[in-house]
Chain length 232, copies 4
């Protein structure tokens, strides 16, 4: 199984939009060409089209940052799963700590995405929530204690037990779900540690998106992810 | 002043997305080339990029269906005003009846949009709400009684007094705000009547978006809008 | 283990308020004096004080219909767990289908309630959601397909497999959690069937609250609940 | 016209609940007996019953901190206007900065409250929002810049122009609406200044609710309010 580097572009300005967004995208593709990792890009809704075109036939996957729990139809300013599929995303992030959802909507979205052929990466802030979500059968779960998000303090360093407990609980429910570490992942070392704690990858935002040199950050993370898997 | 045909693509599937979305866009541009009206297109977030490219240098304007009342930054799955500006929209719909906002957020978004150089089209469901919104100084207000939206029963026929009262109240507050009629606009006759009641245009969705022939519907509406203005 | 009749007064007017509310309360106490069941009363927030005073030393328990996921403090118009404890409730309903919560808030509320000494009754609309919630360790789970709520069509009759699957999944996670059947419970026969399907009680609203004679409805339900347990 | 001291108990623990809540209530009644001001008490939903009983025939008014924009009926954990009327409140606070509402819901609630015979006190954080709300015809508007709430920095000192502008704009729309100053009101001097800026009273929370001696704080505020009116 390949390690996963999932990049949440969030909505930083100007970093997450326009040319900046494309630069991150190209840097990620360059790393993908050099190192055998799975790379997931999650730009803002409005940038999905360009990022998808840019990454065609590169092996890089594009996810939406969120899907609204609405049926297609008279829904102004909402993007249903079907609209995301149409534009060409591979998957969708659900229940990010900055976009928490009702449990019934998480369940509905996972089922709808599956039916539509989209992968799902669901966020959880505590081990037992990770386990609860595992019962709803997403493809991936990212464990990210919200108090560490955006702090530059890696969860794999500050709260390793949250990761270890989450991995333990989620595996008991469903060992086929891939688990990522989120929150505060900043350096290659953080990524190495995250994989040594039993997860298969990381969900990263500001450390890459706001970097002067996204390529070097993504590369360092990818190198460390592969190293961590080989060391085990 | 030119009459306004504003098209809310909503999130119909497949109508509002992909090739269907582009077809509506091209049909609207074709009408714009033939008739001197202002045309506003409001596709889903994910389709904005393509619709904006398609309509470059055509005089047609592109609006977002909504803007999230968030600052740019760590905001996953939200699109701030700055992100919309970056992709190239001319304006934004705010407070659609399918996406109602808090009054403080409406105020914040109008100010933010103005500062960023985006136009604002704010929806109101009752005359006094239209007047209240007028105090917040948007560019346009669309009056649309929500019980008629999507019914095919035109507000200009079923509840002309809602339009007349709204126009009256909003004009008293700020005569520079352009007023549109929304809800149930289906035919050219509905458009004609809407403009005779004192509004300068219409906000239309399903009648165009779900039509077999968007071009002919848009054209008929544009013709009637011009006719109504000339008749007065 | 005693069967449970939980009565959600909802916000019917005038049924759920004032004298009507007290009448239901007294009728429930009367049944409690006659039949050995656990009775839970969940009146609106504003009626809690009177219902708690009325039911003191009767063995009947009083629950809030909801708790807001807020810390005590500067929170206008919200009732934190501590405020409910202070007024004297025994427990709280969480995530009712008419008041769905984010999964992180459900988790937070269950923990907070436990710490404060309140029982928790969490609603779930599908078997896998029931299982997911079981991992968060509430005292009770009510399974209620929302499409049947208020219909008078009992879930135990129309969708017995939802109940059976829920009981099955929840038991596997945590056999100590008591499971109730909700949605459309109208008659004693519905209650009997609900308990035969493996749940320990019912969550009922309109059939009791809007009845001309709450006493007779509650009594019939209690009688059938006891009968179902004795028959097994 | 009498000056108004409106006390928002919020949800401080233990201050806003149980015996503490009753003590504030009794202290306010004592001031009312001594000084000719209008006193409005807004305790949490769960405490309304006791506060209403305590203040019967004292001339003190009791308001709810919020009303949910729901029709009476199948609404679990929500309190419709009719439920508040039934328990005996005189009015309701709407759109507090800690409980912001959609503009259409503010409009609906004001109309519903009026029809039901309840007074409305609507909060606004900026002058133009105050003016917009004035068009919806509430009985009172409280102007409170949210960044000062709970700071102990009085808006009447830190941002007098917000009050002056609000009074000016609201008066132009409807001079019959009584205007209160909120946010950071801590001392009698703050109250004096608030009334000198043209408002008729104050909306106060922590300065009274968290005080060791609510009586002396309320009294000082009432004395200063009367003095400010007499001085003009």
């Amino acid at each position: 199984m390949k390690p996963v580097i999932a990049i949440n572009y969030k909505a930083y300005y100007p970093h997450s939009f326009g040319e900046h967004c494309l630069r991150i995208t190209r840097d990620a593709i360059r790393v993908k060409n050099e190192i055998d990792v799975e790379i997931i890009l999650a730009p803002p809704f409005t940038e999905l089209y360009r990022v998808i075109r840019e990454s065609e036939n590169t092996g890089v996957k594009v996810y939406a940052q969120h899907a609204d729990p609405v049926e297609p139809g008279a829904a102004t300013g909402y993007i249903p799963i079907e609209g995301l599929k149409e534009i060409g995303v591979h998957g969708v992030i659900i229940n990010h700590s900055e976009h928490r959802l009702k449990i019934s909507d998480i369940n509905w979205l996972i089922k709808r995405a599956k039916k539509t052929g989209l992968e799902t990466l669901v966020c959880a802030d505590e081990p037992e929530i990770g386990a609860a979500i595992a019962l709803l059968k997403p493809d991936m779960i990212a464990v990210e204690p919200p108090e560490l998000i955006g702090t530059g303090i890696s969860v794999s360093k500050a709260k390793p037990e949250v990761i270890v407990n989450s991995v333990d609980l989620i595996r008991k429910i469903d060992p086929s779900i891939r688990i990522l570490t989120g929150a505060g992942i900043t350096t290659g070392e953080d990524v190495y540690r995250a994989l040594k704690l039993g997860t298969i990858g990381v969900l990263v935002a500001s450390a890459i998106v706001k970097s002067q040199n996204p390529y070097s950050v993504i590369r360092e993370m990818a190198v460390n992810a592969v190293k961590a898997l080989n060391d085990s």
